[in-house]
C-alpha cells in the first residue's frame, strides 16, 4: 500500500467520520458536564434532525445545506421540549432515572421518524459523487464542506462558551451548580440553553452523517457508542476534548482493519472506551470523573 492510498482510504474517511462523531460527542459532553447524566436519546435526536433537513430540502427543492439551519432550529426546539416534558420532573431524583427516561425518549423519537419518514434508506442527493484530486488526495466537495461546517461549529461554540455571559454561566454551572446559583446564575435558563445547543448539535451531526452516507431510522442509534467513546476519551465536559476524541475514534475505526478482521471494526470504539476508563478515567484533557 502506498502512502497516498493510506491517506485516501484510511485517514481521510477517518477524519471525516471522526469530525461527525465529534459534533455529536460535543453535545454528549455538554449534557454530561452541565446536567450530569448520559443522554441516550442523543443518537435518535440526530436521526430526527437529519430527516427534518431532508423534508426542508424537499420543500424548497434546493441544496441540502438549506436544510441544516432549519433542522438545527427545529431540533433545538424539540430538545428543549423533551427536557420540559420528560427530564424536568426527574431533576431531583437519582440521575439514573433520567438516563432511563432518555432511553424511552430515544425509542419514541425513532418511532416518530419511522412513522413520518418510513424505514427505507434514503439520501439527500441521488447518484454517486466521484472525488476530486488535490495534490493526490481524493476529496469530495461534501467532505470538504463537512469539515468546514464542523470547524465553524466548534469555533463558534468555543467562542460562545468563553466570551458570552451565557456561555460563562454554562461553564460555571458545569463546574459547580450550587455555587453558580448562589452567584446569581439562573439554572433553569442555563438548562434550557444547554438543551437548545445540544439539540442543534445533534441535528448537525445527523445531517452530516446523512450527507456523507444514507439516512435511515437507525442511523443515529448506531452512532451512539462511538460518540460516547469520543466524549469520555476527550474528557467529560470538555468541548475540545470531544473534538479530539471524535477524531481519534473515527481514525482508529478506519485503521483497525489494517490489523484486525473487518468484523471487529465496530468493537474499536468499545475497546477505546474500556481502555480510557481503565487507564485514564478523566479523559485525555482532564474532564470530570463521573
Amino acid at each position: 500500500m502506498t502512502f497516498i492510498d493510506f491517506i485516501n482510504f484510511h485517514i481521510v474517511p477517518g477524519v471525516v467520520l471522526g469530525s461527525i462523531y465529534a459534533v455529536g460527542a460535543i453535545g454528549i459532553t455538554m449534557v454530561f458536564g452541565i446536567l450530569r447524566f448520559a443522554h441516550l436519546a442523543h443518537g435518535d435526536l440526530a436521526t430526527m434532525g437529519a430527516f427534518i433537513a431532508l423534508s426542508t430540502m424537499g420543500l424548497f427543492g434546493a441544496s441540502p445545506w438549506v436544510g441544516l439551519p432549519v433542522a438545527m432550529i427545529f431540533a433545538a426546539a424539540i430538545a428543549v421540549g423533551i427536557d420540559k416534558t420528560f427530564y424536568d420532573y426527574l431533576r431531583d431524583r437519582p440521575k439514573i432515572l433520567t438516563v432511563m427516561a432518555s432511553l424511552g425518549v430515544a425509542l419514541m423519537l425513532r418511532s416518530v421518524v419511522q412513522v413520518v419518514w418510513g424505514v427505507d434508506s434514503t439520501t439527500y442527493q441521488r447518484g454517486i459523487v466521484r472525488p476530486d484530486e488535490y495534490f493526490g488526495i481524493l476529496l469530495r466537495d461534501r467532505e470538504l464542506y463537512t469539515l468546514l461546517a464542523v470547524a465553524t461549529i466548534v469555533i463558534g461554540l468555543e467562542a460562545f462558551l468563553r466570551k458570552s455571559k451565557w456561555g460563562k454561566a454554562m461553564r460555571a454551572m458545569s463546574d459547580n451548580p450550587d455555587l453558580a446559583r448562589l452567584s446569581g446564575v439562573d439554572n433553569r435558563h442555563v438548562t434550557m440553553l444547554t438543551w437548545a445547543i445540544v439539540g442543534a448539535l445533534c441535528a448537525a451531526a445527523g445531517f452530516l452523517l446523512g450527507l456523507n452516507n444514507e439516512l435511515n431510522s437507525m442511523m443515529g442509534w448506531h452512532l451512539l457508542l462511538p460518540m460516547f467513546a469520543a466524549a469520555i476519551l476527550g474528557g467529560v465536559g470538555r468541548v475540545e476534548g470531544a473534538l479530539l476524541g471524535g477524531l481519534i475514534v473515527g481514525i482508529a475505526e478506519e485503521l483497525s482493519v489494517l490489523i484486525l478482521p473487518g468484523q471487529y471494526k465496530a468493537a474499536t470504539a468499545f475497546v477505546i472506551l474500556l481502555l480510557i476508563l481503565l487507564v485514564r478515567p478523566r479523559g485525555l484533557l482532564n474532564g470530570k470523573v463521573l
Binding site: 500500500m1 484510511h10 474517511p13 441521488r126 448506531h222
Partner: protein, 402 residues
C-alpha cells in the same frame, strides 16, 4: 341465598352455552406473520407481507378454515434481528395464540424465533426468505420449513455463473451474520473448487458509516470484481456506493439481499451498469401465472423479491391447518402430506378445490407459485435462480443460473 342461586344459574348458563357453542360455532385460527418491517430489509418487507396476506385473502374468500372459520393474521415486526424476532414470535405464539408462524424474514431472525419460541411451543414455522444453510440444521422436531431454497444452493450457483462469465478472480465482502456468512462460505467453497481465486475475503459489521478502509483492504488482492453478500437496503448500499465512488472495483455481484429497489433508487441506474445480482425465481408454471395475475390485480408487483415464496408459505400454512383439522400437534405431518407428491395437484389460489378434496379425505399436492415445494427431511426445498442486471430503473433477468 338468592345471590348464590343467581350465581349458580349464571354459571350453568355460561357452562351450557360454552358446551353448546364449541361444535356449532366457527373457530377462527390465528397465524403469526413476521417480517423485517423495520431494519435492513425494510424495503423488501411490504410486498412480502402483501403476498402472504393475498394467500390469506384467498383462503377466507373461498370458504375459510374448517366449518366457516376464518384465518386471522397477526403481523409482527422481526426487524431482521434475533432479539426482535424472539419478541415478535413470543407475542404471536404465547399471547395471540397463533398456531403457526409465517416468517420471520432474515436468517438470524428465523434461527432465534425457531430455537427459542416456535420449536419449544410446538408451533409450525414456515419462512419465505430465511436462506442461511444454518436453518437446515436446526434441531426442529420437524417444525421448521422454508419455501425458499438454502443459500448453499445460491452461493454455489452464483460461483458457477461467475466462472461461466469468465470471472476468475473476485473479492468477497459479506455481512457478518447468518445470512451473509452462509452465502459467502458456500460461494467460496464452490468458486475455489472450480479453480477461481478469492483475492480478498472479509466480513463486516452492519451499520457503520464508512467502509472505505475495508474496501481498500479487499482491493489490495487485485480483483476487479467485488461480490457483496449483504442487504441492499442496509450496509450493502453503503458499501456499493463507496466502492463505486472510489473506483475500488469494476464489477459488482450481489445475491438476493442486494436485489433491492433502494440500490437503484439511491445510486441511479446509470451508475449500475456493472452491477449484477442473483435471486431465486419461480419456475414458469400455471401456478406462478395465476399468482402473478392475482398479485398484479391487488396492485402489487409480482417481480418484487420473495413474493412467490411468501404467498406459498402462507398458503401452505393454511393447507396444513385445514388438513390437521384442529389438531395442532399434527400440523407438521399435515404440511408434508399436502405438499408432497403424489396427490391431486393444487395451484396457487385454488383454496376451494383443496378444501373440498381435504374434506373428502383425498391426498393433495400443492404446486406453489415459487415451485413444487417437495420438502426434504430438513424442511428444505431445492431452488431455481436467475441472474439479473439493472436496466431501465429495474432488475432484468439475464436467464437462469445452472
Amino acid at each position: 341465598m338468592k345471590l348464590k342461586s343467581t350465581a349458580a344459574l349464571i354459571g350453568s348458563i355460561i357452562g351450557a352455552s360454552l358446551l353448546a357453542a364449541t361444535p356449532a360455532h366457527a373457530q377462527n385460527v390465528k397465524i403469526g406473520l413476521l417480517s423485517g418491517i423495520t431494519g435492513p430489509i425494510a424495503a423488501m418487507a411490504p410486498p412480502m407481507i402483501a403476498a402472504s396476506q393475498l394467500a390469506v385473502a384467498h383462503v377466507n374468500e373461498q370458504g375459510g378454515i374448517g366449518k366457516g372459520g376464518k384465518l386471522e393474521v397477526v403481523v409482527g415486526d422481526s426487524a431482521c434481528n434475533p432479539q426482535n424476532a424472539t419478541d415478535a414470535a413470543t407475542k404471536a405464539v404465547n399471547i395471540d395464540r397463533a398456531v403457526g408462524i409465517v416468517g420471520p424474514a432474515c436468517s438470524g431472525a428465523v434461527l432465534a424465533a425457531a430455537n427459542s419460541v416456535a420449536v419449544p411451543a410446538g408451533a409450525l414455522l414456515i419462512t419465505a426468505s430465511g436462506t442461511s444453510p444454518q436453518i437446515t440444521s436446526i434441531n426442529d422436531k420437524d417444525l421448521v420449513f422454508r419455501t425458499v431454497p438454502s443459500d448453499d444452493y445460491q452461493g454455489r450457483a452464483l460461483a458457477r455463473t461467475l466462472k461461466g462469465r469468465d470471472i476468475t478472480k473476485v473479492a468477497v465482502a459479506f455481512l457478518n451474520n447468518d445470512y451473509g456468512k452462509g452465502l459467502a462460505e458456500a460461494f467460496k467453497a464452490e468458486f475455489e473448487s472450480l479453480g477461481g481465486t478469492i483475492a480478498g475475503y472479509s466480513g463486516h459489521e452492519g451499520s457503520k458509516a464508512s467502509y472505505r478502509s475495508d474496501l481498500a483492504e479487499l482491493a489490495k488482492g487485485g480483483a476487479d470484481t467485488l461480490v457483496i453478500f449483504d442487504y441492499g437496503d442496509g450496509t450493502g448500499l453503503t458499501i456499493l456506493r463507496q466502492a463505486l465512488e472510489n473506483n475500488f472495483f469494476k464489477t459488482f455481484i450481489g445475491a438476493d439481499g442486494m436485489k433491492s429497489d433502494a440500490v437503484i433508487r439511491e445510486l441511479g441506474a446509470d451508475n449500475l451498469g456493472t452491477f449484477f445480482t442473483s435471486s431465486p425465481v419461480g419456475e414458469a408454471s400455471s401456478s406462478l401465472e395465476s399468482f402473478n395475475k392475482a398479485f398484479t390485480a391487488a396492485g402489487q408487483s409480482p417481480d418484487a423479491i420473495f413474493t412467490t415464496t411468501s404467498y406459498d408459505a402462507a398458503f401452505l400454512m393454511a393447507l396444513a391447518i385445514e388438513k390437521a383439522g384442529g389438531d395442532n400437534a399434527k400440523l407438521a405431518e399435515s404440511l408434508r402430506a399436502v405438499s408432497s407428491a403424489p396427490g391431486e395437484p393444487i395451484m396457487a389460489g385454488e383454496w376451494a378445490k383443496a378444501k373440498k378434496l381435504i374434506a373428502e379425505g383425498k391426498d393433495i399436492d400443492y404446486k406453489g407459485a415459487a415451485g413444487d415445494h417437495e420438502f426434504d427431511k430438513n424442511g428444505d426445498v431445492p431452488g431455481t435462480y436467475a441472474f439479473f442486471k439493472v436496466s431501465g430503473g429495474t432488475y432484468e433477468s439475464l436467464g437462469e443460473m445452472k
